[in-house]
Subunit: 135 residues, 2 copies
């Protein structure tokens, strides 16, 4: 896997109701803000929103297969949840190489999720080991 | 919701194959280290492991309903993935209040996951807003 600073990949994803319900089931997080539309309408968000960690999970799914690539091992991740992601909303997930460590097969990545308006909904950094790293 | 430094909750969870397969489907991360036992046996781990972000998702599911409590809003989360979590393994997820901000209804939490041997597999910190915080 050949990687250099600035390498980037973007994936667009529309969040569906069935995904959010499936994530509630698998994680055990049945917070009504995610699963109960009538309740969600009474909140400041005004509608159901996806679990922050579901958006994080979509992001992590990009990491392994696409960037930094197959065989990579996730060492750390930070998330700042800046805005909600609504059901039905199309989000854009981008991973960009910030640094390839000179001493070890380790890369640092910027991870960012935008909503359809281009507003940042999630920002953070990941660090991954890439055993088959080429420079 | 009444919260003070040192408040803590622990949840024990056994990771099942069906959960890991469901998480692969919902996240789109079909890395064979998670879903293909024959492949996983050829890796240094020697067996299938759960997605790091699935373990993170279980952790996030504790946050809302139990600590800091219903109505809380996730502001940030950091994860260090220290060891793998194997399928069938019983893990122990603990969330502890590190700080209740004096100026705002915001808490900082330690988030930690141990395996059955008591080894740390995931560590990090979360920050959450607790609109109904009582001191």
């Amino acid at each position: 896997m050949k990687l250099k600073t600035g390498d980037s990949t973007t994936q667009v994803h529309r969040i569906t109701e069935s995904e959010v319900l499936a994530f509630a089931k698998i994680s055990g997080d049945h917070n009504p803000i995610h699963v109960d539309e009538a309740f969600a309408r009474t909140t400041p968000f005004g509608a159901r929103i996806a679990h922050g960690m579901f958006v994080g999970s979509l992001l992590s799914a990009i990491l392994a297969p696409r960037l930094p690539g197959p065989g990579s091992i996730y060492l750390s991740q930070t998330f700042k949840f800046l805005r909600p992601a609504f059901l039905g909303e199309e989000i854009s997930i981008t991973v960009t190489v910030l640094e390839v460590r000179p001493d070890k097969p380790i890369v640092r990545l910027e991870t960012k999720v935008l909503n359809a308006k281009g507003e940042s909904i999630l920002e953070g950094e990941a660090v991954a080991k890439v055993p088959n790293l080429e420079r």
